[in-house]
């Protein structure tokens, strides 16, 4: 993402340089919407293509393999499978835009309804995860950079690399065995204990928010108790990435001349680091945090499976195992769209906040 910025931004300013700022902004907005649109079409094309390469014949799945040829042909026509691929793709896009993702075999409900039901659970976990990742990862990265080459720096570097090397499902399993089964510090699988299930009426679908609305602090505490471990596991991966990026951004700043000037002037090291060097990296960090947040939505697939978390990841895994393609493609589309959306939003934020990219 960061690469995109540096390559496209100068070209745009050059082209729009002579025009008024208002028109320039309009052009960059248009350009942004076009890339966004193309990316979404690309996502649809990929899911459409995946739906086509399924070796299971969708017509046979409906009529059964003993149906006479005439019936087969009629159903095939009804499903629109005799039309050219381009026409099929257009009607597929139409279906998706109107929210028709088909029916999930495993639940018997429209996929879109299922997704609306399970998505908040994932959102809740990923949000807490990214909060933990930022709160711990950023200070770790700053510390590592300010003590470059020390054992502390090496240690943080290894933690950062562990974020690329530990399988999420393994971390979740071990975490469950240690913190839930052995130490009993946290709640087990699921969002709340079984006897609290379904007590709070879902309004937002976020159980923490819903229990506050209902004023039920017991359930709130129980939900936090259950959320903390999966969110920490997930947060570890964003922590690793954020710490690594923070360290490299900080090293960049600390080698700048203005930092030397500040040090020569006798500014205390703590202020040099936090007030001088840290401030300029807040903007690129936003992009990193955005990317990492989007990555957590993806990472939740494995974590949710381990923690029986009723989110989109769990839904997707169940659908995968049942070869329930409507549900698989629907989940892929939603996760992909959110992923693209968060990426683009952090891109836009970066451009708005960084005076050089404006």
């Amino acid at each position: 993402m960061a690469n995109n910025n540096t390559t496209t931004a100068p070209a745009q300013t050059r082209r729009a340089g002579a025009q008024s700022p208002g028109r320039r902004r309009l052009f960059s907005l248009l350009g942004f919407l076009v890339t966004l649109g193309v990316t979404f079409i690309g996502l649809l094309a990929i899911t459409f293509f995946i739906g086509r390469i399924v070796p299971i014949d969708p017509v046979l799945a409906v009529v059964g393999d003993r149906a006479p040829v005439a019936v087969y042909e009629r159903v095939r026509e009804e499903m629109g499978l005799d039309r050219p691929l381009a026409a099929q793709f257009v009607s597929y896009v139409g279906d998706v835009v109107t929210g028709n993702f088909g029916t999930a075999v495993s639940t018997g409900k429209p996929v879109i309804e299922d997704l609306a039901r399970v998505f908040p659970a994932t959102l809740e976990m990923a949000t807490l995860g990214i909060i933990l990742g930022v709160l711990i990862g950023v200070p770790l990265g700053v510390i590592a950079a300010s003590r470059r080459g020390s054992w502390l720096d090496q240690g943080i570097r290894v933690v950062g690399l562990l974020g690329y090397s530990v399988p999420a499902f393994w971390l979740g399993l071990v975490g469950l065995a240690v913190f839930y089964a052995k130490l009993k510090w946290v709640g087990g699988p699921g969002r709340v204990d079984i006897f609290y299930d379904g007590v709070v009426t879902p309004i937002t679908g976020l159980i923490l928010v819903d229990s506050i609305i209902a004023g039920d602090w017991e359930i709130f505490r129980n939900a936090v108790w259950h959320l903390i471990l999966p969110a920490s596991c997930l947060g570890f991966f964003s922590l690793a990435y954020i710490a690594r990026m923070t360290r490299s951004f900080m090293l960049d700043q600390l080698s700048q001349e203005y930092v030397t000037t500040a040090r020569v002037k006798g500014v205390p090291e703590r202020l040099v680091i936090w007030r001088h060097a840290f401030r300029p990296i807040r903007v690129p960090l936003i992009t990193v945090i955005g990317l990492s947040y989007a990555g957590l939505l993806e990472g939740s697939v494995m974590i949710e499976t381990i923690f029986s978390w009723p989110g989109i990841g769990n839904y997707l895994t169940v659908a995968l195992l049942n070869a329930d393609m409507a549900a698989v493609l629907g989940s892929t589309l939603v996760i992909g769209a959110v992923f693209i959306g968060i990426n683009k939003i952090s891109d836009v934020l970066y451009r708005m906040l960084d005076p050089r990219a404006r």
Partner: protein, 301 residues
Amino acid sequence: MTTLRDWLIDDSPASPMQARLGRFYRIFGALMHNPLAVVGAIIILVLVLTALFAPWIATHDPLRQALGERLLPPSAAHWMGTDELGRDIWSRVVYGARITLAIVTLVAVLAAPAGLVIGVAAGYFGGWVDRILMGITDIFLSLPKLILALAFVAALGPGIENAIIAIAITSWPGYARVARAETLTFKNSEFISAVRLLGASSLRVNLGHVLPLCTSSMIVRVTLDMAGIILTAAGLGFIGLGAQPPLPEWGAMISRGRSFILDQWWVATMPGFAIILVSLGFCFLGDGLRDVLDPKSGEQR
């Protein structure tokens, strides 16, 4: 010894062979000064040796079931204990090295050249070719890799071959980006113009002169990606879409051990340590290689 070293670091090598060997020697020397890279290289070496000599390193047959010896804790006879069918976990982890090595090698062999060709073509020809190829690349890059791989495997059907294909499909775009960026930096340099003036076709220019120059950054990128490939493959195995039983694939082994995690922790944890060790090895080596081969790219990842 000193004469060989002098010959290797000679500033004016007499033959391309000497220059090439000298370059390898320098890279090797620089790597040796990076302790993490050395550790990484040793881990990868151990992985390769384990995969090659699995029958001699394993203490048991990885597939032989001994129901009388189910779920035994780690001991002198079974270094990592046994699983729910009485199979020796150490031997299964050792044979699993073969599967992991095969997966990463095949993905690299499939995805890296594909990305290289697409990236070099986009960078070299520019214009519409560039716009279309990079448009497709960017779409793939902006999608979540794991989800895409999962969807592809779901469509192709479970199995280790399909897992490899799916991971390769999601890995090439990163290589295309790197190759394009490299190509753009060489494209207008004098030696390329010289080759063109000599009448070389664009195929010859690219194959003979541009592609080789992209290799070092490709090697760095592939090494850094290895950990991600291993994790994705293990994840597919864990969900049940990758390697199928009774193959001793590490992810699938963790999945089997999931039900016993509370009482027989070793069944699920041991293969996990193998995954972490090998992935860390690739990360260490990749980091070190990047510092040596591609110092300008810094920590960006």
